[in-house]
């Protein structure tokens, strides 16, 4: 191997300019691969973090995925029984015996859960009216499962806990109605109940429609307004490990029967979109390295042509085809290793520059920085792809060199 390495390095030095051009291609390829992919992965992680942080990891609804099995289906489970037009059981909406189910879910390790009763209502103030979603919550539990507390810009969830007639609104809704902390608004529910509530908190999530439509009241107040005493219609669950949401949701659903939707299931379309985006991104950045590998192929092919006589001499000395192939693969590997090392360094500099870029998107008050991800896997992936490209580019010239028949060359040598 040492001899092959010595010959390989000598070959590369003999065509220094072409080697440097090839090396430059790999360096740029790796650097751009790293910078672009880290930016894309950074934005993806940032997006997923927001998705996970701002939404429940699991939501348990007062619904069933499948209709209740009918007696005939149970009796002849192996038979060809089809029961159609099954009428849903007439019962009030909501999760039955929710305190027991809540206690069961709370018994899971690494889980936090809050009961919520959500329905539609109409908000009335000074002649204005607007349809809103009203959610009845237990503030102490809600704090553990959402970032609502962090989004409150005026007032607090504690103020809501202390005021049974309190309501927390989005800033957008407050602006529409010209409301401020301490204002009183009327709310009319589908059950026909009309009640005056006092604004005790204002939140801003950055999501305009949410800020204009969502309201929070105490759970007991919501149950009274919506005439669903002792009922909730969903559990909002947060996990220590958000990635286990799908499995935990399945366990909960199989245990209590109610439809449990993980954030992964709820965001399948977005996750698919991110996957497609990643495929496109990696295809584009990989293309840079593929182009760079053509440079290596060109350099090594030229060396093979120029060094055909030397290859014949090496073989006449006793070098095997495998040795000759190793020499040229090593040449590709040397360019790949050097190009990767330098490319990663240049890429890190590019990433640092990108991370320092400050943007202020239209309509947004806070300055945002480009989300660059510094994960080591990204560096490893860029280097591994570069090495694979370089070895692939070296393979054909190496094969050609290994097939040189010394007699053919020696016969024609002058």
């Amino acid at each position: 191997m040492q001899v092959s390495l010595a010959v390989a390095t000598t070959h590369l030095r003999s065509r220094l300019r072409a080697t440097l051009v090839s090396l430059g291609g790999v360096i740029l390829g790796v650097a751009f691969f790293l910078a672009v992919s880290s930016l894309m992965r950074g934005s993806e992680r940032d997006f997923l973090k927001r998705l996970i942080d701002n939404n429940p990891h699991i939501t348990v609804y007062d619904e069933y995925r499948l209709p209740e099995p009918q007696p005939a289906q149970l009796r002849w489970s192996d038979g060809a029984v089809h029961v159609s037009h099954v009428k849903p059981r007439a019962e009030p909406r909501g999760i039955r015996a929710y305190p027991e189910k809540l206690a069961f879910i709370e018994s899971f390790r690494g889980i936090r859960v809050a009961p919520v009763l959500t329905d539609s209502a109409v908000l009335l103030f000074a002649g204005h009216q607007q349809a809103v979603s009203v959610s009845g919550i237990v503030p102490a539990k809600m704090k553990t499962v959402t970032t609502l507390e962090e989004k409150i810009v005026e007032g607090s969830l504690d103020a809501l806990a202390a005021d049974s007639n309190g309501i927390v609104l989005g800033v957008g809704l407050a602006q529409t109605f010209h409301l401020h902390l301490g204002s009183t608004v009327s709310i009319v529910t589908g059950a026909g109940t009309n009640h005056a509530l006092r604004v005790v908190g204002l939140f801003r999530t950055g999501n305009a429609s949410y800020d204009e439509e969502q309201t929070f009241v105490l759970l007991k107040r919501a149950q009274a307004l919506l005439e669903h005493p002792n009922r909730v219609n969903r559990f909002v669950i947060q996990l220590d490990d958000a990635t286990s949401a799908r499995n935990v949701a399945a366990q909960i659903e199989s245990a209590i029967g109610y439809k449990s939707v993980s954030w992964i299931e709820a965001s399948e379309d977005i996750l698919s979109l991110l996957l497609v985006r990643n495929i496109i991104m990696y295809s584009v950045v990989s293309a840079i390295l593929v182009v760079a590998s053509f440079g290596i192929y060109n350099t090594l092919s030229t060396i093979v042509i120029e060094k055909t006589r030397d290859i014949a001499i090496l073989k006449s000395m006793g070098f095997q085809a495998r040795d000759v192939r190793t020499i040229f693969l090593l040449e590709g590997l040397i360019i790949g290793c050097m190009g990767s090392a330098a490319g990663l360094a240049v890429g890190a500099v590019l990433m640092r520059l990108l991370a320092n870029v400050a943007l202020r998107p239209p309509g947004v008050t806070e300055i945002v920085h480009l989300p660059v991800w510094w994960g080591p896997e990204q560096f490893a992936l860029a280097a591994a792809f570069a090495l694979c490209s370089c070895l692939a580019a070296a393979y054909l010239p190496a094969q050609r060199a290994s097939r040189v028949h010394p007699v053919d060359i020696l016969r024609g040598a002058t």
Binding site: V3, T10, R309, M317, V407, L410, T414
Partner: protein, 227 residues
């Protein structure tokens, strides 16, 4: 004396639109410490025979025995191993690797064989260069040497792994008369002093004077074998 190499009814043809017979039914042997000279007109098949004897090419018929080993059953790996360990080549155009120093060129076969450490390879290379009178050129590149010096370096390289047999293809074909005489004498000395066998293909009639045996080959066949 033991037999180093034997060719038995060796034939080599080139296929194509017009098949060409390069070597036809050649049988010969080389004894230990013997200097055999193969002569003949251009295109007579001298070099082709040398490539067959040197395991660079394989005969279509017949067989070549290296010592007692029948090489006709060998694959590429075994042939390369035998070339590395037991044979040394000297070509008309020195064929030294231009980017390597003289010392590195001589050390290369030893490093490939891997029996000596890097330092030992260098020591042996220096020793061989010293024996051939080019020790002072060890650090130079081949292009900085004269034709005669290059050929002496090529002989040193051929001797690197202490082979049984040196195969030389027109070793003086590109040299002036003084250098030719020097190379002839070196090859002659190899057989006497180092008990190496030498097979040299040449047009140079002066080789007949130093060789133990001359074989004349015409149209791929041995015409005369004289001592």
């Amino acid at each position: 004396m033991s037999t180093v190499l034997r060719a038995q009814h060796v034939t080599r043809r080139l296929s194509g639109d017009v098949p060409v017979t390069l070597v036809e039914d050649v049988s010969m042997q080389v004894e230990s410490g013997e200097f055999v000279c193969i002569m003949g007109p251009s295109g007579s098949g001298k070099s082709s025979l040398l490539y067959l004897l040197g395991l660079l090419d394989m005969p279509d018929e017949g067989r070549v025995l290296l010592g007692e080993e029948d090489t006709s059953r060998f694959g590429e790996k075994e042939l390369a191993a035998r070339r590395l360990e037991r044979l040394g080549y000297v070509f008309q155009y020195h064929f030294l690797l231009a980017e390597f120093s003289v010392r590195e060129n001589v050390a290369l076969p030893m490093r490939r064989l891997g029996r000596l450490s890097a330092a030992q390879c260098v020591d042996r290379a220096d020793s061989l260069l010293d024996q051939l009178g080019v020790a002072d050129q060890a650090a130079k590149r081949p292009h900085q040497l004269s034709g005669g010096q290059r050929q002496r370096v090529a002989i040193a390289r051929a001797l690197a792994n202490d082979p049984l047999l040196i195969l030389a293809d027109e070793p003086t074909g590109n040299l002036d008369s003084a250098s030719s005489a020097n190379v002839r004498q070196i090859l002659r000395d190899l057989t006497h002093a180092m008990q190496k066998s030498v097979v040299a293909v040449t047009h140079d009639a002066a080789f007949a004077a130093v060789a133990d045996r001359c074989i004349e080959i015409v149209d791929g066949r041995i015409r005369v074998s004289a001592t």
